[in-house]
Symmetry: C2
Subunit: 261 residues, 2 copies
DNA sequence: TGTTGATGGTTCATTATTTGAACCGTTGGT
DNA sequence: ACCAACGGTTCAAATAATGAACCATCAACA
């Protein structure tokens, strides 16, 4: 791996739980030498990608990422375009809607919307990384990815997040086959034990999924009727978003979605 | 300059006017060898910082910047925290309000808000890079920066953007002295000939400005009364934003702002 | 149909940069 | 006064970056 890759990998060490990291810890987390780490960080700091703060001189993500994100959004209004649809979806279903995109081997939540209706709802956060095997969004994407990619993404051991998380690759693949046949993934308590969710894949051009649109519901509120409603609304919203992105729903998927009950 | 710096500099070649760039053009713009450029880009692509699209295989900013920006905002709600204040400022003044942050040697607009009042207004865009010498925001920041930094930032020749742009460093420094004495910068037609604007510096900790808050008005609508109103509203809004950021207005500046008419 | 000139991408010997153990100066706790 | 951890620096050795020349492909054009 090149130097640039190492530097960029350092950025992935920042998480919501660990928004700022000191030099030594950075070296420890990344496995790089402290001196190397320091050089990479100062180089990124000079470009504003990270910044150093406080008396402890800890590092955190810098303001440049805001500029880059704004630039990306004006060029490719992925998030901004989908936001209104996402809000409408949350309103129509009365539940939490969220949009995730694939970034290499990660599935990242880039937007979400709460419904004003209920006091209890499934909470979400931006920039959350979703596990492929334990979320409906993850499964929705996997089901519409070439087999070689699926294999690569499921190569690492599948963590058992709750009592009912499917951790057996073979059984998971059977599940994906089902998702592929229906055009829609559904999980209950596999990620967080009190949340249930439904998701559909999102496409741009071609038959390969680039992300997923999902709705999450507290388990105690889910009913068959509600589930049916959510499925319907999801397919409508997904079609709309793909259209806004200037993409196309694969005809095969459109057919599946029309047949969905 | 290290390899990482070169890679990150490539990101700055993306602008709103030029959202996607081919390999050869990238090499031309950056002055790097095509092979080098290619390696840096593919390395960044593997981390999602850029992506390649279309039959022409052009490069553009990737989805990872969205995730990083979201992460940065949850850690340091710079933009999100300021947004409501910015909107209130736009409403109160009836004009376009904008917030810019310093990123190394650049001044970047990271948020703006339009007033619903008028049909004509000064338009803005996210991720705009403002010239230090020709905008009130730029001057507001410069006026509250250590002299050594000012010298560095004004080292490059000052472009004459309109008829009345000040391009003489010595005269500009006199102007900055005035801004420093008043706590507020005002320009008319120095950036775009039909826009006039007022700006105040923003602080975090210490006496060094980190950005600026500005209001832009079409020249034909500006009156002394309006200008006074804008100054007042600006200082109030700036104080509020700095407070939301968990920073502190330097006492000397608070005093200036109270004395402003 | 062959020519030209542009594109994206690759190769590999040369070269310059990255690397990391050991170091320094500070800080905070005991 | 001591120790341990911190951020940061040094410099010879090791490694990765570099770039001229190279393909393959495409579009325009005669």
């Amino acid at each position: 791996m090149g130097t640039v890759g190492k530097a960029l990998d350092l950025l992935d060490l920042f998480t919501r739980q660990r928004a700022q990291v000191g030099l030594s810890e950075m070296a420890r987390l990344s496995g790089l030498n402290k001196a190397t780490c320091h050089r990479l960080l100062t180089e990124m700091e000079s470009r504003g990608l990270v910044e150093q703060i406080g008396p402890a001189r800890e590092y955190r993500l810098g303001p440049a990422v805001l500029r880059l994100a704004a630039l990306r959004e004006t060029a490719v209004p992925t998030r901004d375009a989908a936001m209104p649809v996402l809000q409408a979806l949350a309103r129509a279903t009365g539940e939490t809607a969220h949009l995730s995109l694939r970034e290499g081997d990660k599935l990242v939540t880039i937007a979400f919307a709460y419904a004003p209706t209920h006091a209890t709802k499934v909470m979400m956060e931006d920039a959350d990384i979703l596990p492929w095997h334990a979320t409906s969004s993850g499964q929705a994407v996997l089901a519409f990815l070439p087999d070689t990619e699926v294999t690569a993404l499921l190569a690492r051991p599948l963590r058992r997040l709750t009592e009912v998380t499917e951790t057996d690759p073979t059984r998971l693949r059977l599940r994906l086959k089902d998702v592929r046949a229906r055009g829609c993934a559904e999980t209950a308590g596999t990620f967080e034990s009190d949340a249930q969710s439904v998701a559909v894949p999102l496409f741009l051009n071609g038959d390969s999924a680039v992300g997923a649109l999902g709705v999450a519901v507290p388990v105690n509120r889910m009913t068959p009727d509600r589930q049916t409603l959510i499925r319907r609304e999801l397919t409508v919203a997904a079609t709309e978003i793909i259209d806004l992105w200037g993409g196309q729903v694969p005809p095969a998927v459109t057919a599946l979605w029309q047949r969905l009950t």
